[in-house]
């Protein structure tokens, strides 16, 4: 585990000592990060600084201090910032909608914001993402009548407009049901052009399923950067099963087969140690298993 790990051969995002403060709250505290191509999952509890970091990567917010390079461009420079935005798809955590818009009208609007002004090309692009997110039949539906899950899918659809090279997705599966979450995994895995994806989530299993790298953010600092397997490896030898609840465990729950699954720093002698998951590693790292 280190605070700065070069994950890919070609850094797409490089952050040095990124700091951001909101009043008396230090949201980011000297974040060091180097991300390469592929899908990166950002894990961390509420208030860890995930949304702040993603909004800075998306050039929506500026850091108070530190240096950042995104797609080889410096967001502090106005011209280079526009170049990043031309190659960016962004899904904010709390994406708002003009509720009187229809689904198609909203996507049409965002496509214009992305400089797709030619009507034929724009409408073809809107039709493409509608089909990609299985929203074509709802194209004429007003957004105010959509469920939360459908709105999240619409949010994803707008991020995919223009086939961006970099996708910054803040909690893309929030509000999605199990089937939609699995379809999201399929969607991200099948994106044309192999874009760079950075996504924040509370679901460690999603990270393990689709991410080539994972970053854990705690109290505004990068506490882990590596692969999901390496994150799971943090809990190696510290997860075990037993017929009874054991006092030495830091976190225990009874599974469907009646057995107890324990996570702790020191399994008892003779314990039936089981392979850890990325979630176990995250729990131990974040102190959730304490």
């Amino acid at each position: 585990m280190s605070e700065s790990v070069d994950i890919g051969c070609e850094p797409v995002i490089a952050a040095r000592q990124l700091t951001r403060r909101y009043g008396g709250t230090l949201a980011l505290d000297g974040v060091e990060l180097t991300l390469g191509r592929g899908v990166t999952g950002l894990l961390g509890p509420n208030g860890a600084g995930k949304t702040t970091l993603l909004s800075i990567l998306a050039t929506v917010a500026a850091p108070d201090a530190g240096r950042l390079s995104v797609l080889g461009q410096d967001p502090a420079d106005a011209g280079q910032r526009v170049e990043i935005r031309r190659r960016l798809g962004y899904l904010p955590q709390d994406l708002g909608f003009h509720r009187h818009f229809t689904v198609a009208a909203f996507l049409d609007y965002v496509a214009i914001l992305k400089e797709i002004t030619d009507p034929r090309r724009r409408h073809a692009e809107v039709a493409r993402v509608l089909a990609q997110l299985d929203l074509a039949e709802r194209a004429g539906q007003r957004i105010r009548t959509l469920s939360g899950g459908l709105r999240r899918r619409l949010g994803l659809a707008q991020a995919l407009l223009g086939q961006p090279e970099l996708l910054v997705l803040d909690e893309p599966v929030a509000g999605l049901d199990v089937e939609q979450r699995l379809r999201f995994r399929e969607l991200i895995s099948g994106l044309p052009g192999d874009p760079v994806v950075v996504l924040a989530t509370h679901h460690a299993d999603d990270v393990a399923a689709i991410c080539s790298s994972v970053v854990v953010l705690l109290d505004g600092r990068v506490r882990f950067s590596g692969t999901p397997a390496e994150l799971a490896g943090l809990a190696a030898g510290r997860v075990w099963r037993a017929a009874e609840r054991q006092a030495g465990a830091e976190l225990s729950w009874r599974t469907g087969d009646g057995q107890w699954r324990h996570i702790g720093h020191e399994p008892p002698p003779g314990a039936a140690v089981v392979p850890p998951t990325a979630e176990d590693g995250y729990l131990l790292l974040s102190g959730g298993a304490r």
Partner: protein, 324 residues
């Protein structure tokens, strides 16, 4: 449907597919040579015409036909522009700019209806103060009234002041109508998709100016019409133009430091303070006379300079979040 549009150059002789659509048009559509309007016409016709679908299928592969169909369905799902949108198109505003403006609250019918109500109330107030009209009317360079009304000149001045006071609700409110519309057009609180606009390559300042220009233009129309209904001179609306633009520009300039809503509140309060002070001092014409117009022009220029220098302030989040 006959095919009056440009048909492109089909690579082979085309056979008519049906009575409404010529084979040349189908061939032009298949080769992508048709202009926008004609291609739209073909796409609108083909889904409901089996012979044309068959003829087109012979020229296009299935996936392209399917793609064209989904594009057509997308177009059909797009709402037709409202009265303001149609007016903007009539004024040759590009289609994509009209679409961008559709997210502007001040260009919606409900907002314009609210504007009409406010202006009607101001007109009503003028008639309440001066039910018999404004004898003599307001003069832009009217002197202050002081002392007992003993001379004819003083009586005329008093009549002019009374005329201004009767018009004051309208004159005070009229520049605030576009001001509120401008603040609403670029407020993070009132624009739910604000973050998306920030993350997009379209310049935030350009977007702001397009929206501001549209809402100022659209809200000034009912304001000018309302001026004609007032018991005052016909030129009344013209003296409001510069103050209204100055107040809006000052709000935007102040918004670079404190956000558009706070900036608008500050600019609006400053305007009301000027008008109230002039009225209390019995010199209500000052704000709209030559001195007032010159001051408004100076404010407008200064605000434009501030906007040019601080334009980068619109390119990232202005408001502080509650937490990380």
């Amino acid at each position: 449907m006959t095919g009056p549009g440009r048909a492109g150059r089909p690579s082979r002789p085309a056979q008519p597919a049906c009575a409404q659509l010529s084979g040349g048009l189908l061939a032009g559509y298949a080769s992508g040579a048709l202009d926008e309007a004609t291609a739209w016409s073909v796409e609108a016709h083909v889904p409901g015409c089996a012979p044309c679908r068959t003829a087109l299928a012979a020229r296009l592969d299935g996936s392209r036909l399917e793609r064209n169909k989904s594009v057509l369905l997308t177009r059909l799902a797009l709402p037709r522009p409202g009265p303001v949108g149609r007016a903007l198109r009539w004024c040759r505003v590009p289609d994509h700019v009209v679409t961008l403006l559709s997210a502007t609250p001040a260009l919606r019918r409900s907002w314009l209806a609210g504007v009409a109500l406010v202006l009607a109330a101001a007109i009503g107030a003028a008639y309440l103060v001066a039910p018999d009209g404004l004898a003599g009317g307001p003069a832009l360079a009217g002197p202050a009234v002081g002392g007992p009304a003993t001379s004819g000149a003083t009586l005329a001045a008093a009549a002019a002041v009374r005329a201004w006071v009767a018009l004051m609700p309208y004159l005070a409110i009229a520049p605030l109508v576009p001001l509120i519309a401008v603040a609403a057009a670029f407020s993070a609180r009132l624009d739910p998709a604000y973050e998306l606009a920030l993350a997009a390559p379209v310049s935030a300042l350009w977007l702001l100016l397009v929206r501001a220009t549209a809402v100022v233009a659209v809200t000034l129309v009912p304001t000018a019409v309302a001026a004609l209904a007032l018991p005052g001179p016909w030129w009344l609306a013209s003296v409001l133009l510069l103050p209204a633009l100055a107040v809006c520009a000052a709000a935007l300039a102040a918004g670079t430091a404190v956000g558009p809503v706070t900036g608008a509140v500050g600019a609006g309060a400053a305007w009301l303070a000027v008008v109230t002070a002039a009225t209390v001092a019995q010199r209500p014409a000052v704000a709209f006379g030559p001195a007032g117009q010159a001051a408004a022009a100076a404010v407008l220029l200064a605000a434009a300079a501030v906007l040019a220098v601080r334009r980068d302030r619109f390119e990232s989040v202005r408001t502080r979040r509650a937490g990380p």
